[in-house]
Symmetry: C2
Subunit: 121 residues, 2 copies
């Protein structure tokens, strides 16, 4: 068994692309993913799961059809399953995601911003 801490800052230095989550750990059938966000994402929903966003650096807006939540570093939010949302980062921000293994970043929406899943760093 490896006794090695997962250092989030060190992991974040290993990539620079946006909207492309990288898996850093698994917890049962859940994955912990780091992602760098900048600009507007696509409207989408995850029909079968909630999704947790924890902001590590910068600021994130999660826009809903009827409101929005603004997150700064050290703040988190759980988007309930089935709820349409669009993450927006006016400047680059870094986020830790928690969600079940196999979740696709664009949910049911698909399109060119769909990232490959299960990419580990």
């Amino acid at each position: 068994m490896p006794f090695e801490a997962i250092n989030l800052a060190a992991k974040l230095q290993q990539f620079s692309d946006h909207w492309s989550p990288k898996v850093v750990a698994e917890l049962n059938d859940y994955q912990l993913k780091l992602v760098k966000l900048e600009g507007d994402f696509v409207w989408h929903a995850h029909e079968h799961t909630d999704e947790l966003f924890l902001v590590l650096h910068g600021q994130l807006r999660i826009v809903f059809r009827d409101g929005e939540v603004r997150l700064s570093a050290g703040e988190m939010y759980v988007v309930p399953r089935g709820v349409e949302h669009m993450p927006v980062a006016d400047e680059e921000c870094h986020v830790l995601l928690v969600e079940p293994r196999g979740v696709v970043n664009t949910g049911e929406a698909g399109g060119p911003m769909t990232a490959q899943g299960d990419v580990w760093i």
Copy 2:
């Protein structure tokens, strides 16, 4: 639907007791819990689930029968299911836990350090 960020620092100001996890969010059937640790916990294991520790403040050692891992703020570790471990904090540290709803802090060990579950702040 409430559009309110969960601010971890603000939540941590709401309690001061040690070894008594407080739930701050749910993600499907998982819970996100904040806990303040100081001193030695008890040896225990969780037979049916992994357990994630993310250190937010201070330093944490997780001692195993055959080694240990040292975590500073911004570092995390997943203790695999069934593995005996003992968290130790030489000075107070603050941790975010992720684990399924219903997990007991002392696992199979029980004893006086067993905390009440499902306490929300």
